[in-house]
Symmetry: C2
Subunit: 356 residues, 2 copies
């Protein structure tokens, strides 16, 4: 087992990564402070792993809350369902919420914990590759709004994160690839060596080699933890983590939440960010080709869906959270493995990238 | 003008108290960090004071959001209205939200600010006595849930609070008295001298003497700020501020939000807390009488509504936030002006106080 400490002062917490961790009650026990827990999962994950959490938390008063599965349920209505079921079960301010599932369960449960009686403890048990490498670090929680993804939310750090790589054996191939998109992202932000490693080990990751997965997860969480520790509330450099995301969010919103997986949208979004970087003369055609080759190797899309017109794309991007005081900030690449935050890009070049 | 600094480390902020402050742009200007503001008020307050805020914030892109008036609209639906209107107006992460109104507007707007794009700055301009002495200190924000008052919310500190005592001239008498209930509360928590002052100056307060009001508001905020600075997240002594509130919340929920004003419910709740304290031998009959006399002088209720049965009262109190790990904590009085937090009270005595 590997342990990574996310360093956030009095909000620091450990991430445990390894095989068979859901059979180790001693990992979760020290992080449950009260006498009761609420386990939030969904209809897909609950039949697979809920019993394991029950076994790990024997002795605590337990409320099981099962959500419908899918990004389209990441709404204030589902948030209300969690709150209502917790109130009905008499959960109180010392109840610990356990989020068991992927990014949707993690984000919405974390936000439920952030806002239930003005904030209770929570523990994340991510079961998808995407949530292991993304939402398990940094405390971003929230729900979607019809007018924009993740628009409503809060920063709320977990007490600990338990990543059992065995749970990836039940993940479908498309979800696995979507997770790999976020892993690749860390390489393109600031670690070209990691890109090389991924290029060499993509087969192993796709065939779910436990050791390769654990390494890639640890490396990704480490990258993210370093950036988050320096800028918890995203006033500056944390925005680098949004490489591909402004384009990607527009794709997700434009296509209707859940039709494109988040990681798939980020994959196409990274290519678009790369193409805009090329327009500025920062990347070469061969840089773009090597990026596309790696993403294709991971079975990921390398272009946005044709259904979204350039006009609609612009509109969707204009209400992204990366807009500050009316100025759009994008993450671009000065070179492969060297990303920057920029508001000083060529607007016409952006329109060309959007297909106008 | 009096200025009180609420000392919360990097979340510290000033409260400005005085007459005519809504004519002073220089007070609000330094606290607006971005280039846009959203002003949230309600249908009662907007016609009276919205123009003053517009005049104070000339030059900023401004979105006006007007809520229906009343505690019954302190819901997740109204919260959604604020978020939707802000998204439609392209408010971003640097937008400052200005909450103009009473406790409902302040609580719901503060929660909207806490959760809009994971948290934006906000400024409070309370226009009721209750919100001036209660919600302007401490950063508690939130909405009601059908199963319990203030059950959904967050801690989110404002950038500054501007209390213009002139706005109390438009407050109706019942609301004024409700605010006085919270002022009286601070005296009974730990300042018997303040109770004497209130007893001597009640006529002045009720006739809206500006100087008396400013003193009572400053004193109340100072009391609350001291307790909050020592225990921001209410892990201990901050709970003293809930004197009368566990009973009071049960009254509000049981009667339907908005039928009893919060301060009225707290008034009756304080008498109930005093009566339970008497059951333990801590207060005398004459203590109770002096408390009732003061509250009656302020035109406040001194007994709960007959409509709520003792059984319903118990049920309503069992889901209060003051319940931790299944144990009910109440604020009781060891003597007048000396409150304590107790879980070790006589359950039978409590039932007698509830009328069983």
């Amino acid at each position: 087992m590997k342990t990574l400490n996310v360093d956030l002062g009095d909000r620091s917490y450990p991430i445990f990564i390894g095989s068979g961790l859901l059979n180790k009650p001693e990992l979760i026990m020290p992080y449950i402070k009260g006498q009761s827990i609420a386990i939030v999962s969904n209809t897909t994950v609950a039949p697979l792993y809920l019993d394991k959490i029950h076994n790990m938390t024997e002795g605590f008063a337990t409320t099981d809350i099962t959500l419908p599965d899918g990004e389209k349920y990441k709404t204030t209505e589902t948030l209300g369902q969690i709150h209502t079921e917790m109130l009905q079960a008499r959960c109180d301010r010392k109840t610990t919420l356990v989020a068991l599932g992927g990014g949707v369960v993690g984000d919405i449960s974390g936000f439920a914990a952030a806002t239930y009686q003005r904030g209770i403890n929570f523990i994340q048990v991510p079961t998808t590759l995407l949530s292991m490498v993304d939402s398990s670090v940094g405390g971003k929680t929230g729900v979607n709004h019809p007018l924009g993804k993740n628009m409503i939310g809060a920063f709320h750090q977990p007490q600990c994160v338990i990543i059992d790589t065995d749970t990836l054996n039940t993940l479908d191939d498309r979800e696995l690839s979507a997770g790999i998109a976020e892993i690749i992202k860390y390489g393109y932000i600031n670690d070209l060596d990691f890109i090389d490693w991924l290029d060499q080990n993509m087969e192993k990751l796709l065939s779910r080699d436990q050791e390769a997965l654990a390494y890639a997860i640890f490396k990704s969480c480490e990258h993210k933890a370093k950036i988050v520790a320096a800028d918890e509330k995203e006033t500056g450099q944390r925005a680098l983590l949004n490489l591909g995301h402004t384009f990607g969010h527009a794709i997700e919103t434009g296509m209707g939440y859940g039709n494109w997986l988040h990681g798939e949208a980020i994959s196409a979004g990274m290519v678009m960010a790369a193409e805009l970087s090329k327009e500025h003369g920062w990347l070469s055609e061969s840089d773009i080709t090597s990026m596309k080759t790696l993403l294709k190797k991971a079975n990921l899309p390398i272009a946005p869906p044709a259904e979204i017109s350039p006009e609609r794309f612009s509109e969707l991007m204009s209400i992204d959270k990366k807009v500050q005081d009316g100025v759009l900030h994008l993450v671009l690449m000065k070179s492969l493995g060297e990303s920057i935050i920029s508001s000083d890009f060529d607007k016409q070049a952006l329109l060309r990238v959007l297909g106008a």
